[in-house]
C-alpha cells in the first residue's frame, strides 16, 4: 500500500470533518476522493499531506509511519485548487523551488526543470510570471512544481475546480495521460462524479465525514452500496419505491410479469437520447431510451404503456467503508 489511513477523525470546533475514516490506496494508482462539498474529502487529503493534524488515527506513507511527520518530510507533492503560485517568481523558479531549497547543483536543477516544463508543455513560458499565464497553465506549472521533488505521492485538491468547463475537460484527459507516463501514486479530490469516473482507477466516495464506498468506477456505478452512492454517481428515478437508473427502465407496449402500467407525460428528444417522463401509479418517474427504441415503439405523450425496471437496488449490499479496494 502506498497510503494507509486508519481510523482518522478530525474536528474543527463543533464540526466533525472526518469521522473514523480508514482508506488504503495502492501504489501507482490514480484515486479520486469524490463527494459533496463539506463531505471531508479535502480534509482527508490535507491530513495525508500533513497540513492538518488528525485528532485520532494514523497515517502511513509507503510503509513509513507519517502521523507525526511535518509536511516537509512526508515526500508528498500537493497541488492546490487556486494554484498557490509564487507570484514573484518566474515559472522556471517556481518549478525549481523545491530543488533550490534542497541545494541541488545548478546544472541538475536546470535540467530537471527543463524536463518538467516539457512534460507539462510549458517550456516556452519558462521566463514568464504566473500572472502572465492562463488558469490551466498555472495549474500545470503547480503540478510540475509538485513533481519536481519526486514525491512518493501526489495529492491534488480540486485541481480543476477553478477552471472553466472546456479547460477542465482537457486537463482531465491530460492528467490521466500524465499519470500513465509518470506512475506516481496520485489522489485527487473532486465533487464532479463525471470527472472521477473519467480519470480515476478507483473512487472513494465520501459524505458527512465518512467513507461511503470504495471501488472502481464500474463497481460503484453497477453495485452501489447505498442509495446515496447510487444517486451521487449517476441519474436515478424511483419506480414502485425502488431506485433505478433511468436507462434500466424498459418501456413495453404490452403487460408482462413485473411490469407496471404507466402514462407518458412528455417525450423529450436530446439527440441520440430520448427522455421519457412518466407517471407510474400516480408518482412521477422517467426513463432514458435511445432514439431508435422511441421511434420503434412510437412513444408520444398521453400514451399508456408498461414499464419494467431492471437492476433495481433492493437492499444495501456491503456496509459502509468495508468494501475492499480493488488493486
Amino acid at each position: 500500500m502506498s497510503i494507509l489511513v486508519q481510523n482518522v477523525s478530525k474536528s474543527f470546533g463543533d464540526f466533525a470533518a472526518l469521522h473514523d475514516v480508514s482508506v488504503e490506496i495502492p501504489s501507482g494508482s490514480l484515486t479520486a476522493l469524490l463527494g459533496p462539498s463539506g463531505g471531508g474529502k479535502s480534509t482527508l487529503l490535507r491530513v495525508i499531506a500533513g497540513l492538518e493534524q488528525p485528532d485520532t488515527g494514523r497515517v502511513e506513507i509507503e510503509g513509513v509511519e507519517a502521523t507525526a511527520l511535518p509536511p516537509q518530510r512526508r515526500g508528498v507533492g500537493f497541488v492546490f485548487q487556486h494554484y498557490a503560485a509564487f507570484k514573484h517568481m518566474t515559472v522556471e523558479r517556481n518549478v525549481a523551488f523545491g530543488l533550490s531549497i534542497r541545494h541541488k547543483p545548478k546544472e541538475e536543477i536546470r535540467q530537471r526543470v527543463q524536463e518538467l516544463l516539457e512534460l507539462v508543455h510549458l517550456e516556452q513560458f519558462a521566463h514568464r510570471y504566473p500572472s502572465q499565464l492562463s488558469g490551466g497553465q498555472r495549474q500545470r506549472m503547480a503540478l510540475a512544481r509538485a513533481l519536481a521533488v519526486e514525491p512518493k505521492v501526489l495529492l491534488l485538491d480540486e485541481p480543476f475546480g477553478a477552471l472553466d468547463a472546456q479547460v477542465r475537460k482537457e486537463l482531465r484527459a491530460w492528467l490521466r495521460r500524465l499519470h500513465d507516463q509518470v506512475h506516481v501514486t496520485t489522489v485527487f479530490v473532486t465533487h464532479d462524479q463525471e470527472e472521477a469516473m473519467e480519470v480515476a482507477d478507483e473512487i472513494v466516495v465520501m459524505a458527512g465525514g465518512e467513507v461511503k464506498q470504495i471501488g472502481s468506477p464500474d463497481e460503484l456505478y453497477e453495485r452501489p452500496a447505498s442509495e446515496f452512492v447510487m444517486s451521487f454517481l449517476g441519474p436515478v428515478t424511483k419506480i414502485g419505491g425502488e431506485l433505478v437508473r433511468p436507462h434500466d427502465v424498459e418501456i413495453l407496449t404490452a403487460g408482462t410479469a413485473g411490469a407496471r402500467p404507466a402514462l407518458i407525460s412528455r417525450v423529450t428528444r436530446l439527440g441520440f437520447e430520448v427522455r421519457v417522463d412518466l407517471e407510474v401509479e400516480g408518482e412521477p418517474a422517467w426513463a432514458q431510451v435511445t432514439r431508435g427504441t422511441a421511434d420503434h415503439l412510437g412513444l408520444k405523450s398521453g400514451d399508456r404503456v408498461w414499464v419494467l425496471p431492471h437492476k433495481v437496488r433492493t437492499s444495501v449490499a456491503a456496509s459502509v467503508g468495508e468494501t475492499p479496494p480493488a488493486s
Partner: protein, 270 residues
C-alpha cells in the same frame, strides 16, 4: 434627456468649482510659505519686497535646526523600525494562528492612534517617570512607536489575509522550513505592504508634536518642537519659514512613494 445632460453638466461644473476651492485653501498657504522663504522682508510684507537666499543660508547654518532635524530623522527611523518589527509579528500572529484573545489584539493595536495625543503623552510621561527611564531619544521613539505600529499591522494583515495560507503550505510541502518559507515566499509578497506602512509611519512620526512634547527632554528636540519654540521669536521667524518650506518639499517624497508602492501592489496580481 437634454435637461438631464444640462443638469449633469451644471453639476460637474459645480463640483469642479468646489474641488478648485478646496485645493486653493489647502495649497495657497503652502505656496505662500515657500514664496516667503525667498522674501527679502523680515516681516513677510506682501507683495514680497525682493528675492533673497539669505534666509536659506541662515537656516542651513542654524545648529538648532540641524540638530532638531537629526533628532527627528533618528526618531522617525527608530519608531518605524520598531513598528515594522512589532506590527509584522502581530499581523502574523493574528492571521496565521488561533489563540485566546486574538480578536482583542486588533482593537488594542488600533486604539493608540485613535486616542487623543495628549492622553497618550501624559500616560507615557507618567509611565517613564515611574519606570525611571530618562527622557530623550529613546522615550520619543517608544512614544511614536505606540501609534505607528497600527499602520504596519493593518497593511501587513490585509496583505496576509489576501494571500491566504496556501502559499506557505505549498512552500512547506516542497520542503522549505518556517524561516525559508518566510524569506523566500512570504516576505517578498509582503514587502510592498511593509514599505507603504513604513513610509507612512516615518511621515507620521516626523511631524508629531503632542506626544513628543511629553516624551522629549529639554536638550533633545525634534524639528516640530524646534519650530514651535522658535515660531514667535521675531529674529528666528524667517529661518522657521525656510525650514517649513524645506519640509513641504521633503514630505512630498515619502507620500508619493507610499502611494506608488501601494498602487503597484494592487495591480497585476491574479
Amino acid at each position: 434627456m437634454s435637461g438631464a445632460v444640462a443638469g449633469s453638466a451644471r453639476g460637474r461644473r459645480a463640483l469642479g468649482v468646489v474641488t478648485a476651492a478646496v485645493l486653493v485653501v489647502v495649497y495657497v498657504p503652502l505656496a505662500v510659505v515657500v514664496i516667503n522663504s525667498f522674501n527679502r522682508s523680515r516681516t513677510f510684507g506682501w507683495p514680497p519686497a525682493g528675492f533673497t537666499l539669505s534666509w536659506w543660508a541662515r537656516a542651513w547654518h542654524s545648529t538648532g535646526a540641524r540638530s532638531a532635524l537629526a533628532t527627528s530623522v533618528e526618531a522617525g527611523l527608530g519608531a518605524t523600525a520598531v513598528a515594522l518589527l512589532l506590527g509584522t509579528m502581530a499581523a502574523f500572529a493574528v492571521s496565521r494562528y488561533r489563540f485566546f484573545g486574538r480578536e482583542t489584539v486588533s482593537f488594542l493595536v488600533l486604539l493608540p492612534i485613535a486616542l487623543p495625543g495628549i492622553v497618550t503623552g501624559i500616560a507615557l510621561n507618567n509611565a517613564f517617570r515611574v519606570l525611571g527611564l530618562p527622557f530623550g531619544l529613546l522615550t520619543i521613539i517608544i512614544g511614536h512607536a505606540t501609534f505607528c505600529i497600527v499602520l504596519v499591522y493593518n497593511n501587513a494583515l490585509a496583505r496576509l489575509r489576501r494571500l491566504g495560507g496556501s502559499l506557505e503550505e505549498a512552500s512547506m510541502d516542497l520542503g522549505a522550513g518556517v524561516l525559508q518559507t518566510f524569506r523566500f515566499v512570504t516576505f517578498p509578497q509582503l514587502r510592498s505592504a511593509l514599505l507603504a506602512g513604513g513610509l507612512l509611519d516615518f511621515a507620521l512620526s516626523f511631524d508629531e508634536i503632542i506626544v513628543t512634547t511629553f516624551t522629549a527632554a529639554p536638550g533633545v528636540q525634534t524639528l516640530p518642537l524646534w519650530i514651535f519654540g522658535n515660531l514667535f521669536r521675531p529674529n528666528q521667524a524667517p529661518v522657521v519659514n525656510v525650514v517649513a518650506a524645506a519640509l513641504i518639499v521633503l514630505s512630498v517624497v515619502p507620500v508619493w512613494l507610499a502611494q506608488r508602492v501601494a498602487g503597484d501592489a494592487g495591480g497585476g496580481r491574479f
